[in-house]
């Protein structure tokens, strides 16, 4: 079970001890009747089935429907229900709307709180000590490191997820995307843009096509 990814990447930690330990723990808990394998399996399946595509669908709908955007900011669970999406176990999830004058950025300085149900497991850097330390005191420096440079006139709002409320950034819809369908828009919404460390870009498809046809 769950060997799926073992050979693809160098795991973080002291292999092989770290890799063996949870398997020993699992064996002991099953033997003692504390957990059954089905319950563990269900949690593995849940975790690996979560991807940023879920959050992207919410954002794309918010881009085409201002009322939906408002509902997403007020109560993401209710908004997600409308699209048949599960926001997970956190009792409250809220969207944070980026505008011309406000840019949101999410961190959890105390641990690693993150809207997993909508974005999948958090990236390694989100859980890292430098991100957790620096994002609150130097958000613009962190954004610069991620390649996002904001004018001084744009207010940067850091949100530190210190309780059981989860936050999803609703990035701005990029210009030049007027003709796109909701599915095409969703494809532009990256995980990082929903954490607030990136800005979605319009597709360069037409540019690429014209340069191809031009023989360039």
């Amino acid at each position: 079970m769950s060997h799926d990814h073992d050979h693809d990447h160098e795991p973080v930690g002291n292999e092989p001890e770290a890799a063996m330990r949870p398997r020993a723990l699992e064996e002991l808990l099953v033997e003692k009747g504390v957990l059954d394998r089905e319950r563990i399996r269900a949690r593995i399946d849940w975790l690996v089935s979560r991807t940023p595509a879920n959050g992207a669908r919410l954002v794309a709908r918010a881009w085409v429907d201002p009322d939906f955007k408002h509902r997403l900011a007020e109560d993401a669970r209710a908004a997600a229900d409308e699209l048949g999406l599960d926001v997970g176990p956190s009792p409250v999830t809220l969207g944070l709307e980026n505008t011309e004058s406000v840019h949101h950025l999410v961190v959890c300085t105390l641990c690693s709180c993150y809207p997993k149900a909508l974005l999948g497991p958090p990236p390694e850097w989100y859980k890292s000590l430098p991100y957790r330390s620096r994002t609150v005191s130097d958000p613009r420096g962190v954004l610069r490191e991620f390649g996002v440079e904001l004018d001084d006139g744009v207010e940067v709002r850091v949100v530190d997820s210190t309780a059981e409320i989860r936050y999803l950034v609703i990035p701005r819809r990029p210009p030049g995307t007027e003709g796109l369908t909701e599915d095409e828009l969703a494809a532009l919404v990256t995980r990082d843009s929903m954490i607030g460390v990136a800005v979605p870009r319009a597709p360069e498809r037409e540019l690429a096509q014209s340069s191809t046809s031009g023989g360039g």
Binding site: H3, H9, A18, A24, L35, P121, P123, S133, E145, F146
Partner: protein, 95 residues
Amino acid sequence: MTRGVHDRGGVPTDAPIDRTEHELAGWEVLTDALANALEDAGVVNVDEFRRGIESMPPDEYERAAYYERWLFSIETNLVEKGILRAGEVDARLGT
């Protein structure tokens, strides 16, 4: 005011953020699933789980991989509750 090792906001550091993408390894997925299954089963709640992570000796916390902290907390809580004996996982591993 003493701050716990987990309380990182504003802690001075020049360390860059390593943005390397890392797909979760099998043992990491399993550790995540065990913690959540224990919560589902009403054995260890999220607050006990976090408190367990925060009880890690500070130098170990700083050195540990993310899911090693989770394992530490799961085992700490299960020993406290009398579900595991201290050292039982090590014994099973034969170390």
